[in-house]
Symmetry: C2
Subunit: 313 residues, 2 copies
């Protein structure tokens, strides 16, 4: 397939880098300020070298990437809230041109799911978005395989940064602020960690899971969200005395979506460590399925993107 | 889809029972001695009532089921070794009639994978077999999504009976014989538990995983197998003193397939409890994925069968 990759952050770069190994051709690659377009295939190595150099991927305008020849648009620009722009506009443009869309950007399917599906119904293109929920973990494809109507609930640890912080706080008895600073030094937390530690990122994933399980109708505003910023070390100590720990758990059950710190047994399957994620699916006839792995990272998320591209082939 | 279901054990019965909920019609249902065939749809409830009564599902000959009108054959007769008959013959007949095949029976793809694939290449029908490896756990569909060439190894606890026995031996310090007898009372182990406790069942699953990962070439004879029948409680006690336990682990790595008792840390993801199964996939770009859940059971395995049927639709 010919891929137009929008976004040259960790995920977009990894998709571009791995595409040829998967038998695909990158015909356009864009970041927010520049693009490179070549119907015969972009020189990805050169574009990524240039990105590391002057910060641009080429001489073209970002808008040129959307006008390129491609079969599937890989939307990997940063997730935005509310109107989910510019990602949503990219999705619309691709579907109106009867092209497929593979999302790594959570915004369009977390905030404007019903509109995305309406555009898809009018298009010859399809929209897939495995990468938007827990990176490499095959959560959405497993739900699709089971049939969403036979998944009665989903629960999970959906944010690696928050989980790293909780794991370290529990293991070392350190304060939230101390561990956050350590996580920032390690590159596990961003300079502005708000999205992760206040639960927004996990809540977007819950909105997407709720949309998939219930056929739409959810956005971030429908998710009850509580983060981990106010969690005192004493809460973790109390939990530990009882053989428990605290995890930032996202849940979709009975039509309700919520994210918040929850007490879980220390040895529970849900109590994954460090930056690991887990998704638990409650099924109608097959009990509980646990899917865990790396929920973020460039190559990990790109793996989910490229699996979606293969499903479209 | 119209389904011909061969085998009326726990899995075949569950497939027949759930088929209508999934939008499918059972046009034939057979056990080893009888069958019921109706091109308009078998009365499944009546057939299963009759099975509970006199042990037959209908008045027809089992061979009539293969001659029925159907789109997909569900092969759920007992797994057999070596020539994998009569399952292999059923697969051949369906593919030669250009019909799809969904296997719950491990024999054909564990023992005669290359022949099954050769028949499939000549047929308009496809062969799927998610249910043959760890029941409801989406191991094969996850490998298909990643691309088998990007899965560098697979490892897992693939037999619930053996795992139940090891879990109980470790928790209670009981002997193998004692726990086996308890498992038989609970219906977790069969009267003849050989297949499970000597590792054969797990080894068949390893042969299937090896075939999928390496494009064929494996049968049971290619798997190095050691069971749990000779494991003394003292081995589990020694392991526990070191924070470890013993699991019957099946592995496919570097082209080698093997099954045997392995020491694993007590809190390790691999150390699932009771009758749970787990499959760990090592991926090229996305690290390790853990997939766990119920590896056996009628409705659980039927869920995997019916997910395969949906993939063919």
């Amino acid at each position: 397939m010919r891929l137009a990759v929008l976004g040259a952050g960790a995920v977009g770069r990894s998709v571009a880098d791995l595409a040829s190994e998967y038998g695909h051709t990158v015909t356009a690659l864009a970041d927010s300020a520049s693009a490179v377009v070549d119907a015969d295939g972009v020189d990805v190595d050169a574009a990524l070298d240039r990105k590391r150099g002057d910060g641009t991927v080429g001489d073209a305008d970002p808008a040129d990437a959307l006008a390129a020849d491609y079969d599937a648009l890989v939307e990997a620009t940063p997730t935005t809230l509310g109107d989910a722009q510019p990602g949503f506009g990219h999705v619309r443009a691709a579907l109106e041109a009867d092209r497929h869309v593979v999302l790594a950007n959570k915004g369009p399917v977390a905030e404007r799911y019903d509109e995305v599906r309406a555009l898809e119904r009018e298009s010859a293109g399809e929209v897939l978005f495995e990468a938007t929920v827990a990176g490499a973990i095959p959560a959405l494809s497993t739900i699709a395989g089971l049939g969403p109507e036979r998944v009665t609930g989903a629960r999970g640890v959906l944010n690696g940064t928050a989980n790293f912080i909780l794991t370290r706080m529990a293991a070392e008895g350190l304060s939230y602020e101390h561990v956050l600073s350590e996580a920032q030094d390690l590159g596990v937390a961003e300079a502005d960690p708000t999205f992760d530690v206040e639960g927004t990122d996990a809540a977007l994933k819950c909105a997407i899971l709720a949309n998939v399980l219930h056929g739409g109708g959810y956005s971030l505003a429908d998710v009850a969200v509580e983060g981990i910023t106010d969690l005192p070390p004493s809460a973790l100590e109390l939990a530990a005395e009882d053989g428990r720990t605290v995890r930032l758990v996202g849940e979709v059950t009975g039509g309700e979506a919520r994210v918040g710190p929850r007490l879980v047994p220390e040895n529970d399957t849900l109590a994954v460590s460090g930056t690991m994620n887990i998704v638990q699916l409650e099924t109608e006839h097959a009990g509980r399925l646990n899917l865990s792995g790396r929920g973020a990272g460039g190559p990990e998320t790109a793996t989910a993107v490229l699996a979606d591209v293969d499903r479209l082939s």
